[in-house]
């Protein structure tokens, strides 16, 4: 019996590894996976990891990720790595990237911010800190902390 393999391999789909421990359900929510899509999904929570101490892992059959989904995952799991699987083989592997600016992904938590109106702009934030996550709205200067970012995803 294999003592290390917690989650079985997938045939075709996406593996999201090195997700910050505790964030896997949020990743599923970002991907709009509710469990009723007839997709085979395996989730490993609080899995020991050399790099992160503990991590979450998701393996999703028959699903690829959109750019906007990757950007959102980068916000809550900046160390996440993505593997594209075809016929049990990793055909592509890359890390998500949290850029210096976050544009058009989340809304400002300040209800009185001009970016929350019908102006022809997209919400935009500076990444002030990556760990812990702190974003700053380029319009109203309001800081958004991880809990607010999570709530707005």
């Amino acid at each position: 019996m294999d003592k290390t393999l917690l989650i079985s391999k997938i045939k075709d789909g996406t593996v999201i590894d090195h997700v910050k421990a505790g964030m896997s359900l949020k990743v599923l929510s970002i991907l709009n996976i509710t469990g009723r899509e007839n997709l085979t999904v395996s989730v490993g929570m609080f899995v020991p990891s050399k790099r992160l101490g503990f991590k979450d892992v998701l393996k999703i059959e028959q699903r690829s990720l959109e750019r906007s989904e990757l950007d959102k995952i980068a916000l809550i799991a900046p160390d996440a790595s993505i593997s594209i699987i075809r016929d049990y083989v990793v055909v592509e592997k890359f890390s998500v990237a949290l850029e210096d600016r976050v544009i058009g992904i989340i809304k400002c938590s300040n209800h009185n911010c001009i970016s929350n109106t019908k102006e022809p702009i997209r919400p935009e934030f500076f990444v002030k800190s990556r760990n812990p996550l702190v974003l700053e709205c380029i319009y109203c200067d309001r800081e958004m902390f991880e809990s607010e970012v999570l709530a707005s995803l």
């Binding site: 009185n112 001009i114 970016s115 019908k118 022809p120 709205c137 319009y139 109203c140 200067d141 800081e143």
Partner: protein
């Protein structure tokens, strides 16, 4: 050089640029006091777009531009503007850009000035956005302190009153964090400074928070008083009870240092007793007067006028 730059926040102005503005303000002050007629802005037009009512700030900007020989266009009533027809701020700015050389904007939403700056190459000056920033008020506050105290460094400053909604206080606090001031925040518990404003400065300078003015009054160099608005309280009895404990009267002033000053962005209601007006510490009317030369200097530097 701040020529052609937009000023949305006090952080858009560096220390050196502030010195440049204040040096020019001194010259403007002398020109105003000698009643010298100035025309460096002749042929230039300033648009004042006031999406929210304001008396002092708008008149002060308009007076500044007129004193420099320039012209002013604009509105101060949203009902009479195209905004009431549903126009976006971006479109209003594109329109105003083609009619003017510099745009002054006051808006009820935070971040409005920064958004405006995205849609024009002309300089935008924020004259107050929601409970956000009011950088020209901060400039005139700092100029008042420099002029009346003689320095901007190592100051002990007490901000008292409504620290929750008062944008002048938020803007000033950000500037004080850059000047290594010691700041005391005194307010009723319900009107404390918002967490996001405090967290931005508390790492940089010494800040204390309390609801008792008597603890800090003796050591303070600058007592900056703001208006506690009646409408922030559910019943007027609560307001009356509270306003008394924050009212500055001659007895409070007698406990202050002789060299200290009292400031207020005005309008004041009950928070400073009229008997205080004639005391040497009272500088709030002087402070309001400095609004014009400070804005003259800023307009000159933004538009590159020769003096």
């Amino acid at each position: 050089m701040i020529k052609n730059r937009s000023i949305a926040s006090i952080d858009d102005i560096s220390e050196d640029e502030m010195i440049e503005i204040f040096d020019l303000t001194e010259k403007m002050l002398s020109a105003l006091e000698s009643q010298k007629k100035l025309t460096p802005m002749a042929g230039k037009i300033m648009a004042t777009l006031f999406f929210e009512p304001s008396t002092r700030t708008r008149l002060s900007f308009e007076s500044a531009m007129n004193r420099l020989g320039g012209d002013v266009i604009g509105f101060s009533d949203v009902k009479s503007s195209s905004v009431s027809k549903g126009e976006t701020l971006a479109d209003t700015i594109r329109m105003a850009e083609s009619y003017s050389d510099i745009i002054v904007i006051r808006h009820p939403l935070e971040g409005a000035a920064r958004l405006a700056a995205k849609f024009t190459a002309k300089p935008i000056v924020n004259a107050g956005d929601g409970s956000g920033q009011h950088p020209t008020q901060t400039l005139l506050d700092l100029f008042t302190i420099k002029k009346e105290i003689g320095r901007l460094e190592k100051l002990d400053i007490t901000l008292v009153g409504d620290l929750k909604y008062g944008r002048t206080v938020h803007s000033l606090l950000i500037a004080l964090a850059r000047l290594n001031a010691t700041v005391h925040l005194v307010s009723p518990p319900t009107l404390r400074i918002p967490h996001h404003v405090l967290s931005a400065v508390s790492e940089k300078i010494d800040v204390t928070e309390s609801d008792d003015l008597s603890k800090v009054i003796r050591d303070t160099d600058v007592l900056y008083v703001t208006r506690i608005q009646k409408e922030r309280f559910p019943d007027s009895e609560e307001y009356q009870k509270l306003i008394g404990s924050y009212s500055i009267d001659p007895d409070v002033v007698s406990r202050m240092k002789k060299t200290s000053i009292i400031m207020h962005p005005l309008p004041r209601v009950d928070e400073i007793r009229p008997e205080v007006d004639t005391l040497p510490q009272a500088k709030y009317f002087r402070q309001a007067f400095y609004g014009v030369p400070v804005r003259m200097a800023l307009i000159m530097l933004l538009l590159g006028g020769e003096f």
